[in-house]
Subunit: 301 residues, 2 copies
Amino acid sequence: MPEGLSYAAAGVDIAAYEAALERVRPLIEGAAGRVGEFAGTYELPGLGHLVASADGVGTKIKVAIALGRHRGIGADLVNHCVNDIAVMRARPLFFLDYFATGKLDPEVFEDVVAGIASACREAHAALLGGETAEMPGLYALGDYDLAGFIVGLVDPGRLPDAAAVKPGDLLVGLPSAGLHTNGFSLVRKVFEGMPLPEELLTPHRSYLADLQELRWKTAAHVTGGGIPGNLPRALPPGLGYRLDRSAWAVPGIFQEIQERGRVSDEEMLSTFNLGIGMVLVVDPQAAPAGYPVIGEVVAQA
Amino acid sequence: MPEGLSYAAAGVDIAAYEAALERVRPLIEGAAGRVGEFAGTYELPGLGHLVASADGVGTKIKVAIALGRHRGIGADLVNHCVNDIAVMRARPLFFLDYFATGKLDPEVFEDVVAGIASACREAHAALLGGETAEMPGLYALGDYDLAGFIVGLVDPGRLPDAAAVKPGDLLVGLPSAGLHTNGFSLVRKVFEGMPLPEELLTPHRSYLADLQELRWKTAAHVTGGGIPGNLPRALPPGLGYRLDRSAWAVPGIFQEIQERGRVSDEEMLSTFNLGIGMVLVVDPQAAPAGYPVIGEVVAQA
C-alpha cells in the first residue's frame, strides 16, 4: 500500500530540526525565543519587559511567487510576529524586515512592503526600517525570502505565568483564516502538477485585538508543529491536555489537502492549524462566549 | 578595449535598488533605518531611545559555503548589526537571527550559531532567540541565508546630531579587517574559476569599543556603497566632504581585486571599504591619536 504524504517526506524533518536546535542550545545564553517560549524577553527595570521575535513565512512564499500575488505575504509576516509577542501580553512597538532576492523586482518589492506597512499600521507598530539585499547566485530568478523582527513591551507584572494554569482549565480555540504560514512544504507536494488554489494565500490572521480583549491565563500561537507542537509551551511542567476534536469543524481546505495527499490524521494535526490559529488557556468560570471549547488541561499521566 | 568589472555588471545595480527603495518610501511611516540613517529609533520617554537595525551578510555567504567555513559568518552578521547601532551611540541590548536553508545541515548550523553567540557575548548583547527555517525548493543544496536583528539603547540626549558637524571638522578613519561584508558579488565575479582566498572571509570588525571610547560628533559605518554611500548620512544638509586618498594605505586584497577585475578607482571606492571600516567626524581640536585623518568636512559647492 503506498504511503500517504508526510511533512518529513516533503523535505521538512521536524525531529531532526529539533535535534539540531538542541545541539546549539548550550551556545545560547539566556535564549528564550528559539528554545521554548514564543518570544524572548528582556527586562527594562521599572518599564516592564521588551519582548522580541524573529519569524519568516516559510515556503508559503513559493506559493505567492507561483501565483504572482505578493501583497498578502507582508501581512503574513507581520501578523505571525505580532501573534508571537501578543501571547506574551506585549503590545507591539516596532517592526523591521529583511527582504532578500537575486535581482530586485521593484513591483514585487513594492507589493510586499505595502502589505508589511499596512499590517504594521493595523498593529500600531512603527515600521522602523529593514534590510533589502540583492544576492545574485543565492536566489533563483523571481525568488525571494523574507524575515520579520518585532519588538513589543509588556507592562510590569503582566507576563503570562504558566504556573497559574491548573487541571480543569479550558482550552478555547480562536479560528484561523486558513493555513496561515505553516505546512506549505507539504502543501506544495500535495498540489504538485496541479493548479494551486488562491485560497492557500489567505493571510495569517492577527489575534492582537482578541488577546487584548479576552481574559486568559496563557495562550499558544498555533504555528509549525500544530497544536501538539505549540500548546505545551503554554502549560507548566507536569500538565498536559486533552483535545476534543469534535468541538470544531475543520475547514474544507484542510480536508482537501488530507484527501489529495492521503495524509494521516496525526500528521495533519502536527503540521496544520486545522482551523484553530490560537489556543487560550482559561479559567473554567471565565470561558469567553462565542468560541469553541476545544479541550481541557489535565494532569500528565 | 574590454571593460573592467563593475558592481552593476556583477548583478547588483545600486541605482536601480535605490530607486526601488524610493518607491516604497511613502509606504513607510516614520521609517528611518531603511531610508537614511543606519538604524531606526524608537523613543521610550525617560529611558532614552531604542535603536534597531536589520542586516544580512550578502553574498559573502556564498564564499563561506564555497570554502566550507561558516563560523566567521556569525561574527560578520552580529558585528555588522552592532556597528550600525553603535554609530547611533547605542549600547547593544539583544540580538535575534534568522537562518534559512533548504535542508538543515546540523554542523553548518552549529558553526554559524557558535559564531553568532560568541560575537553577542563580546558585544554584551543577549542572544534572545531566532528563527530557523527549512525551506526546500527555495535554497539550493548546501545554501543558506542569514539575517540579524539588533536592539540597543541610547541614553537620553545622547543621540548623535549631525547639526553639530561644521566645515573644517576632520574625518578620522578606523581600519577595517578586510572586506567585511560588502562587495562580494563583484568579488565572486573577479575570482570566477579561480581559488577564492580564505582572507576574503576575515570577519567584519566590531567598532563598539572604539565608538564608546573615542570622542566624535557623528560616525559612518562603511558598508554597501563604500565611503561615498555612507558618509553623507553622518553629515547635515549643505555640507560635503573632501577625501585625502593618500592618507591611508589600501590593503593588498583590494589592490588584488582591482587588478584582477580591472575595476575603476571610482567603482572600488563606491563598492568596498578599502581599509576604512568606520569614519568618525571629529572636532579638529579633538582628533584621536593613532588614527589617520582621511579628509575633512567642507561646505557643499
